[in-house]
Symmetry: C2
Amino acid sequence: MKHERSKRFHKMAKITDIAKRAGVSIATVSRVINHSGNVKKSTKEKVLKAIKELSYTPNFPARYLKTKRTLTIGMVVPDITNPFFPMVFRGAESVVKQENYTIILCNTFEDEYEEMRYLSILEAKKVDGILLIKAPARSGNEQYMQKLKNLSIPIVYLDRLPKLQDIPAVVADNVGGGYAATSHLLKLGHKRIAIITVHYPLTVHRERLQGYVKALREHDIPISRLYIKKGASTIEEAISLAPSLLNMKNRPTAIFVTNHKMTIGLMRALEMAGLQCPEDISVVGYDDFDWENVFHPRLTVVAQPTYQLGQAAAGLLIEILRDRTDSMHHKIVMLSTELKIRESCGIYRQNKLRKP
Amino acid sequence: MKHERSKRFHKMAKITDIAKRAGVSIATVSRVINHSGNVKKSTKEKVLKAIKELSYTPNFPARYLKTKRTLTIGMVVPDITNPFFPMVFRGAESVVKQENYTIILCNTFEDEYEEMRYLSILEAKKVDGILLIKAPARSGNEQYMQKLKNLSIPIVYLDRLPKLQDIPAVVADNVGGGYAATSHLLKLGHKRIAIITVHYPLTVHRERLQGYVKALREHDIPISRLYIKKGASTIEEAISLAPSLLNMKNRPTAIFVTNHKMTIGLMRALEMAGLQCPEDISVVGYDDFDWENVFHPRLTVVAQPTYQLGQAAAGLLIEILRDRTDSMHHKIVMLSTELKIRESCGIYRQNKLRKP
DNA sequence: CTGTTAGCGCCTTCAA
DNA sequence: TTGAAGGCGCTAACAG
């Protein structure tokens, strides 16, 4: 036997109720609601009055059947718990809300299967568009990439780029970020500069590594595989990765970490190894948050334009939705990063080499 | 003239397409999709085949018209940029996804008008339920409270309680949190303990203050208005509030901050005043995040069960949705907090009184 | 086990 | 300026 919804949830008025009460047809009601077609002022007022009296709101899902628009967009992120993404979300929300869109937020936990699942749901729910921050690609995912490309809903890629041609996307200048971080260290005299980065097949990290390599090359410093550590983007992973760097005979005098969570892990590892930052070792991190300018050591970091990334991506998506065609939107927008110099990098000194 | 959607967005197959291709009626197709009614194995396979071939997905908005369920819920938060809320979101998402729900996330910026706006939209979009973390109440909002109470969609209140009777809600033990923080300071010998809290009419902060008062009373320490500072929950506000405390003749030897952002602001203010924590002044903060156990001074804080708050609230909401009645769900669930003792509190020493 | 059919709430020609 | 009627894609009786 089916339960009844309790009385306090009275059913909502519908358009016929309004029509009846106002003594007009539903077509007329629809016209005043949507400002479509002409309605005599007096009848319009009658309708408005009825709407107010019954506190009527149009039923969006029903309306969708005709209009084919849900006024909602989907946003798929790897991990909303990484403070980078809430800022991106807010940026996006700030622009879509102007157009009365609303956002379904989906967390994939860096899992492409989860991403697929969510994309299917978003498709079924008929969101008007999707902002996608991709999870790392799994090997043998060609089929999925094909599906992505042919999805019935416009997608704007954000931050992380898939292996796809001709897609609309908004990204940060990761090569520039990696380059700036490494150059800064070089300018301070460091020569043995390590990098801790993420092993996922993600453009962002590959590019930051590229920037690192580029800067070293420009200074004729050979790239050593021993100074390049890769792992999952977690605090724990950085903690377990760090010792292989810190216990080297030629321990690096500076480390560039390309990821926020791993930066925290590295700092923990330094402490555990009894190393002072910046006295014993310099660190450049990634991503900039409020507390970083307060607690010690104050991190020198590559700051990303998080809010702006969200804004730009949402703006692009809305443009596409407005045209209802994406033919001329196969462009990739790149926003630049900024090195925030604080206190976690010291000048290279020979005597830094004391054993830990 | 209306634009056409570009060709790459081919229209989706619908149930009649499947029926035609499988050589059955749409009713049968519907049956296999929804596992309702019996279908002969062989025809079921035919249908499944057709579905796969046309990569058909049911159209949720259309389906809603019949089922009255959108399988989406709304979550309204004050500021997703405060790391407290992403954790709550993840907790909620982790349980609703089990039931195939999806979440529309709405940011109100602590603005009750914005909250009203979003609630109206969620109502129009026919979300099945709402998780609401309320913005501070404006004065003269009785009408809105009335509307809230009579909303056509079940709400579970989260973290912050409105002035309403008989509502389902999940909250943290804020009195307990304030009490634990203050007691800890008292145990360390502090007597001049100040509190920096939020002036919004929000249960959470009122209760944390209550806990503070309760602890002091138990130790027969008079409550001084001079030691109670209230303001907006921002970094800047804490910075501008702090000097009135730090420059007092009887400067407090310990401060309890009931809000994450204000904690950051206070630490900044201490630094600006040339005060060391914990040497010159002890601090207990609120909310616990990864970096707090790494950077210095390591904050002693009241940790809230963020993830669990989200889980519990979502669980309660789903229960309500399952019954389609909230008659027996007028309960308030309270989860406890935990004091994380780290390094920002020192033992009270007389000589702390040196001028800044 | 399967098909026919009547709506769900709304928008939108087409007529008047 | 207004109304009547069809249909969007789907589910759920009701028949067969």
